[in-house]
């Protein structure tokens, strides 16, 4: 490049009035003015690139940060948190010197533009976050939302997203052990792809993203930098698709899972030999983010020769190199003493590694391009001191009407045959139907530590073959509940994930979250967001499970219409002995089926309301976190003491759907006798929370019921498992052969895509 085109620091000082395209890069007038104030001059174009991406909503959390503080302020007292929020991912102590790190992150917009690559690089990005903490990634899961199952664009987006997750995750050798898939019109132009990864390490092996020690070397390693995803962070994540005019729609990043697999093994070998001072992955905002964050967290300064960065496309300008979101790249800080050993490990794995800079104590991030100074800024100003907005908040005008019209007069099934039809219709509905067409495209066996995988209540992974210790993970989110009451909706998602983890026998320990909402510039969306954050923070405080990290995704909307507010909550639990895990399937002939918890007439936001009447109104089921804790205690103790041999939480579709799933999972029939005083419809389809069904071997019945009685958990014996008669029978109401039920449940999704 001719140096005449290069915007150097010297040039910037000489030409203070040169117009700059900050608005096109998504910066507001006052944000640009603030950059000028920080620098005492106009930024160079390279500096403008850095600030524009670092101060984007995606990287700076400028609309959410003021609210997310609650997760720290209300954090419950806990001694399990080794690394809290703010790092690449939180780290949880799971005992015996083991630590686990986990996080969920969105890749929504890229997955709409280019479903395969968008979803694939979503997996790649979250895996690198986990790797960066010093952990071996050991499992992934995905929380997905699409438009209506039969919508034409769903047929474009879903197969691509699923193939992308499979293509990338399978090639990394990470088992996919859970997640969720939901369909709703509101996601038709804006699918949600939230990817979660969990990693395992020894507690003394934690790595942090900081550039300490003047004179230490800054090494860029992994894939070469290309032109993919340029501007992705600031433009893709901050503007909606419908906006007209000059918004550039940059290419989505392209993933190379093989490069990432090799990078994982290379990094783990580097960690094992203790060769790095600090490490950071390159994700959104690429080199801009890695350099400013590493420098800001460390001694405070860094000198970088940007022209040394290995390129895939030699014509890239320095601004583009700084903004590129090319995948499978990492940056490490290495002492001169360890540099040769570091480079030798990279060479062993054929990973390109290049020293591009040095740590300094100047307090400045300085970059040169062929010897000329093009960046000279205080790194904290870009990484941590971006704008913070208190966006206007207003309760949506239709919120009261939505709650008031609660659908109590919607016609309900009146007899056994109508109840039977409702069961089959719900089981075959898109949200409750069998998802194995999707999940059978994911490898769940690799690594040999998968104890439970989808469709179990939670995924469970043994930490290592040397131990019986394991972790369980579940993600949940119910957007219709959240639309009706965002405070309760976030807590309901938390409660369900918590309950799912406990159903497998694991004790819930910590929380991650991915908050998917519309535009923060819409006051009613901002109301939904702030209510959900408050609900989640309060809920975590009561349940004693801290938020360890997460991700906010705004601007999920089509035109002016936002998606349903969708907080997706991930809960991680620990189990001492994975051989004690409780599966979902009915499997023991003659075992007794117990329903735990209380059932009320609660149909606001229910699957029945949605499927049978296309209706949404009323209040979501009441939240009772104390009850959730009690139920979890019972489920965990019963698992540990061998009192139950199956457990399944009750959620969408209520008792009927849970019974259907446990029957189908085990290929076992059940005879159900509903409590005498119960309204059969309410008993079968209400979505009251804090409930689960368990099967209890007859030999353990007294011990189990004694425990429930002592702890004052309501319980009711509702049936018996019958391995010989493959029917789901509700006495006095109806009976369905499992063959018919399975056919209804399992043919919905394949019928759309085969």
């Amino acid at each position: 490049m001719s140096s005449t085109n290069l915007d150097t620091v010297k040039n910037a000082k000489k030409t203070p009035h040169q117009p700059q395209p900050y608005a096109e890069l998504g910066m507001k007038d006052d944000e640009y003015a603030r950059v000028r104030e920080i620098l005492g001059r106009r930024p160079t174009s390279a500096e403008l690139a850095i600030y524009s991406v670092m101060w984007s909503e995606h990287c700076s959390y400028k609309s959410s940060r003021a609210h997310l503080k609650q997760f720290s302020e209300k954090a419950p007292a806990t001694d399990v948190l080794l690394v809290g929020m703010g790092e690449n991912a939180g780290v949880v102590d799971v005992g015996d010197g083991w630590a686990v790190t986990f996080k969920i992150e969105s890749h929504n917009h890229p997955s709409y533009v280019e479903p395969y690559q968008g979803a694939a690089t979503g997996v790649g990005g979250i895996v690198r976050d986990i790797l960066t903490m010093g952990a071996r990634p050991v499992a992934v899961m995905d929380s997905l939302r699409f438009g209506r199952l039969d919508a034409p664009d769903t047929h474009r987006v879903l197969p691509g997203v699923v193939a992308g997750i499979a293509g990338y995750g399978n090639c990394l050798g990470l088992p996919n052990v859970g997640g969720e898939v939901y369909f709703d019109d509101s996601y038709a132009g804006n699918p949600l792809v939230n990817a979660l990864c969990v990693g395992v390490m020894r507690a003394d092996g934690i790595k942090l993203a900081k550039a300490d020690g003047p004179g230490n070397k800054v090494v860029l390693f992994g894939a070469r930098t290309g032109g993919d995803g340029i501007g992705g962070a600031s433009v893709l994540a901050s503007a909606t698709f419908e906006s007209e005019g000059g918004t550039k729609r940059p290419s989505v990043q392209v993933g190379d899972p093989f490069a990432e697999k090799v990078l994982i093994e290379c990094c783990l070998e580097i960690f094992a030999a203790d060769l790095v001072v600090g490490i950071q992955d390159l994700g959104a905002a690429g080199l801009s983010c890695a350099t400013t964050e590493l420098a800001a967290a460390g001694t405070g300064g860094m000198d970088v020769d940007l022209d040394l960065a290995p390129l895939r496309d030699p014509t890239l300008r320095p601004e583009e190199i700084l903004m590129s979101e090319s995948q499978e790249r990492m940056m490490a800080v290495v002492t001169p003493r360890h540099l040769d050993a570091f480079m030798a490990v990279c060479a062993k794995w054929d990973v390109t590694a290049t020293v591009i800079g040095t740590v300094t104590d100047t307090g400045r991030l300085r970059m040169r391009w062929h010897g000329e100074q093009i960046v000279d800024l205080p790194p904290r100003s870009a990484a941590h001191e971006g704008p913070v907005y208190e966006r206007p908040i207003e309760r949506p005008y239709d919120q009261d009407a939505l709650i008031e019209h609660d659908g109590h007069d919607l016609p309900r099934p009146r007899n056994g045959s109508e109840l039977r039809a409702t069961l089959l219709r719900l089981a075959a509905s898109s949200n409750l139907a069998d998802k194995s067409w999707i999940t059978d495209q994911y490898d769940r066996f690799v690594m040999g530590n998968t104890v439970l995988a989808q469709p179990e209540d939670a995924g469970m992974i043994r930490l290592d073959e040397s131990t019986t210790r394991g972790v369980a993970l579940s993600t949940d989110g119910n957007a219709r509940y959240t639309r009706l009451d965002p405070y309760a909706g976030a807590q309901l998602a938390l409660a369900e994930a918590y309950r799912n983890v406990a159903s497998t026998g694991a004790r819930p320990l910590a929380v991650t979250n991915c908050l998917n909402f519309g535009s923060p510039e819409d006051p009613s969306v901002m109301w939904q967001f702030t209510e959900a954050v408050r609900g989640l923070a309060d809920g975590c405080q009561v349940l004693g499970v801290p938020v360890t990290g997460g991700n906010v995704s705004f601007y999920n909307q089509t035109g002016a219409t936002p998606i349903l507010p969708t907080p997706v909550i991930g809960v991680l639990g620990v189990i001492d002995d994975v051989t004690r895990r409780t599966p979902q399937a009915f499997r023991t002939d003659g075992a007794l089926v117990y329903l735990l918890g209380d059932t009320l007439d609660e149909f606001g936001g229910s699957e029945w309301q949605h499927v049978a009447h296309g209706y949404l109104g009323g209040r979501p089921p009441a939240v009772d976190l104390a009850r959730e804790q009690l139920l979890a205690d019972i489920l965990i103790n019963a698992s540990r003491d061998g009192l139950i041999d199956s457990a399944h939480d009750l959620a969408e579709g209520g008792l009927a759907q849970a019974l259907a799933e446990s029957c189908l999972r085990g290929g076992a029939g059940v005879r159900v006798i509903l409590p005498e005083d119960a309204d059969p419809f309410v008993a079968l389809f209400s979505e009251s929370t804090g409930r689960a069904i368990v099967s209890v071997p007859r030999s353990e019945e007294i011990r189990f019921t004694d425990m429930c009685t002592a702890r004052r958990l309501p319980f009711a014996r509702i049936g018996v498992i019958d391995l010989l008669v493959p029917n789901l029978e509700v006495q006095g109401q109806f009976s369905v052969q499992l063959r018919e039920l399975r056919s209804a449940w399992s043919s919905t999704i394949p019928a759309q895509f085969e």
Binding site: A163, A166, G167, N170, C171, L172, G173, D256, P257, F258, A259, K261, V262, E265, W349, D350, D440, Q441, Y442, D443, R444, F445, V446, M447, G448, N449, T450, V451, R462, E465, V578, T579
Partner: protein, 224 residues
């Protein structure tokens, strides 16, 4: 002295640690072999594990075939060394011409991961002697390009000489000709198998322990 079984790691191998674990659970000693090292380190048998060697961006196994370690494997296989290629390893064996035929994209064009029933058709190979003739087993299958194809004459030869080691039952998961899940060479020391026995060696983490027989079959190999 226990049997020493080498497990090769190519860049992009995924099931190498699973294969090593299976070897250990079967009572043998596992030895890591590196793709760039032409020595087999005096092992008594070799497993080429599943995964995506070198990314498999060309044809599956097409680049792994040229790894230095494969020269040694091909030579030793000719001398009777037991070699088991699982999934990607099967693809590498076909690309190396240790086994006939090829593995192509699944007929339904999706990756498939499920518990799969197989019938063991040949129990006289070095890797299947622990099984009963026609024994049905269930082990995981997981592949994107697992459709076994060969010309009619090759298929007839394989059938005639008992070289179809395992066949899919209760449904063909990938469009393999004649439901073939695994084959062996004429001598029976080289076996290629698309499903994954190494993922069925512990009841806790697999569909059962039906896969263990492949690794237990090696007992006595060192003495032989």
């Amino acid at each position: 002295m226990s049997v020493r079984v080498g497990v090769v790691t190519f860049p992009g191998s995924l099931d190498d640690r699973d294969a090593a674990r299976a070897v250990r659970i079967a009572g043998a000693e596992s030895v890591s072999l590196w793709h760039g090292d032409p020595s087999l380190h005096d092992v008594d048998a070799v497993v080429l594990p599943g995964g995506f060697s070198y990314g498999d961006y060309l044809r599956c196994g097409a680049i792994a075939r040229f790894a230095p370690v494969m020269e040694a494997v091909v030579a030793a296989a000719a001398d009777g060394l037991p070699v088991l290629g699982i999934c990607n390893g099967f693809q590498v064996l076909c690309e190396s011409h240790l086994l006939p035929g090829a593995l192509i994209r699944n007929d339904h064009r999706k990756f498939v991961c499920k518990e799969q029933a197989l019938r063991i058709e040949n129990t006289s190979t070095r890797w299947t002697s622990e099984y009963r003739e026609s024994q049905e087993i269930v082990i995981p299958i997981k592949n994107g390009e697992g459709g076994y194809v060969a010309d009619e004459r090759t298929l007839d030869e394989l059938e005639a000489n008992g070289r179809v080691v395992a066949r899919y039952v209760d449904g063909n998961p990938n469009g393999s000709y004649r439901d073939i899940a695994g084959i062996c060479n004429e001598a029976g020391n080289v076996v290629g198998l698309m499903p994954h026995p190494e993922h069925a060696v512990e009841a806790l983490t697999g569909p059962g322990t039906d896969g263990l027989g492949f690794f237990l079959s090696l007992a006595g190999v060192a003495a032989a």
